[in-house]
Assembly symmetry: C2
């Protein structure tokens, strides 16, 4: 049994049981992959894939178990390499963060500025996507950290670190009647056309909940994937915008007025998600601490180590 064989195996499974595709992803030849998988099956004495003639059709029941273990082996092997890098060059490496627009645009810049100053040799990469993309990036190992408000808790393989709470602001054009209301209510708000986030984004669910709980149906005239689009259409007079408070920048957004409406909606919590069982570099711990000061190295390790599930004994 070779690590290479396990890599081939997992890649085939992840390429939709397409051996040729897997070979391409692995930058090697298709017959090689095919052969190594046969050899592994021979060695284990079990068919991993169901073949219809020559086509790989599905995964056998034993194959599912074997794949799960193979993935763990590869994860640990990756950790080993990471550990090597950690000690050989403490201050160089890469850190890939998968996150959503609001974080990337309004929250991360100053964290990243500090981080880059302290670790100029670490190559930072941002992968932007919706909360589900973000979680998948981390689960698959393409990114190291997921930072998002929604969607992370759906993934059993992610360990979750709550970072900070935030709420929303209403943005309107200058002179808008709602600016005169000292204590805005949801009812008043529901009377106006609303522009806010697309579903499954940046705490959109809390907005819906609040209206529903009051038996109101907001008149959402436009949903957007990011705050910038929302602000643009508010400036155009299409409606009033509900955005994350940190997405309003009084300097840049001079064509708009913001009104804190945290009394109307529940707080949202932005979280970091890390794949369970991952070896973290020192600079990654430091990045997390810069993002959320209460998350020191010990606190993060505690979460990562707690309640590990799906051990090797599972069957």
């Amino acid at each position: 049994m070779k690590l290479q064989q396990l890599r081939y195996l997992v890649e085939v499974a992840q390429s939709g049981l397409n051996v040729s595709q897997a070979a391409e992803n692995l930058h090697t030849s298709q017959p090689g992959v095919s052969k190594q998988i046969r050899l592994l099956e021979d060695e284990l004495g079990v068919d991993i894939f169901v073949r219809n003639g020559k086509r790989v059709v599905s995964v056998t029941e034993p194959g599912r178990h074997i794949l799960a273990i193979a993935e763990r082996v590869l994860l640990e092997a990756k950790n080993l390499k990471e550990a090597g890098r950690e000690f050989s060059s403490q201050f160089t490496g890469t850190l890939t963060i998968a996150t959503t627009h609001t974080q990337a645009r309004y929250v991360l810049p100053k964290v990243i500025a500090r981080f880059s100053e302290q670790y100029p040799q670490v190559k930072l990469t941002l992968h932007q996507g919706n909360p589900t993309n973000v979680a998948e990036e981390v689960v698959s190992g393409r990114a190291d950290l997921a930072i998002a408000t929604e969607g992370l808790d759906q993934f059993a393989d992610l360990r979750i670190l709550p970072c900070y709470q935030w709420n929303r602001s209403l943005v309107v054009p200058p002179g808008h009647p709602l600016l005169e209301r000292p204590a805005l209510t949801l009812e008043e708000l529901a009377a106006f056309p609303i522009i806010t986030y697309d579903f499954a984004f940046t705490g959109r669910s809390k907005i819906n909940q609040a209206f529903e709980r009051h038996g109101l149906t907001p008149n959402v005239v436009l949903t957007a994937l990011d705050s910038d689009v929302i602000k643009t259409y508010v400036e155009l007079g299409m409606g009033v915008g509900i955005i994350a408070s940190m997405a309003f920048d009084p300097v840049r957004d001079q064509g708009l007025r913001a009104l804190d409406v945290s009394h109307l909606f529940e707080n949202s919590t932005t979280r970091i998600g890390i794949r369970r069982g991952t070896f973290l570099r020192q600079y990654t711990f430091d990045f997390i601490a810069m993002f959320a000061p209460h998350l020191g190295k010990e606190a993060v390790q505690q979460v990562l180590q707690a309640e590990e599930s799906e051990s090797g004994a599972a069957f």
Copy 2:
């Protein structure tokens, strides 16, 4: 990075940093081992071993982390092979049980008889030893299950399954005065010379506790490693014996009389210990269920999966 290199690495560490010894254990040549370890160190860019000239002297701090991860990789790789065997031949394999004398001699025989009948193709091996040996056998992977009353909870890598409770009997020669006492007390017992288990064995600690709690100092004239020795010396008239109740066999031990003394001592619990993260064969689950009927497959898996610690992120 190859699995082989990790095997070499771990074996050297476990052979007291003796490369030649490790090579012998691995049935390969010493230069090969030496070279592969250098290659691995090169690849990771870190020294794993501290060398004084040519001698391997100790493990570097990075090396300790790398070794820990390497062991996990190998454990998972072993699990993968086990999984292969499980599916390729459900009813054949080996099961190695590390246990103490009392279990091996008085408790396991009937369990093993049933098991062997159901799984005639499974090769059963017993490793007898003291509780610490037993635990180490399982931690190191030389045995699959540890069965013992004491000592298992000292090992973080063992998952513990309580199996059954038991208490003690007094064994004396026929006609002994203590046989006339309807409700024996510790004070009465302390007046006689006592023969019982060696320290750190078969619930010996509970015996000491009971006497201590009553401010008594028992007159222990002989300690033995197993019940058979104790019974032999009781027959010789050297004193009265305190043994595990299941170690008295009225048919075989006709030269002795037994008296239940469970009211004098706390119950002891016999436990099974399994290395965390181990893949268990179906017949192993069945063995456990035969030994302790309340430990079905689900129950065992739950214990194995709960509270996994020392994840890959640990540092």
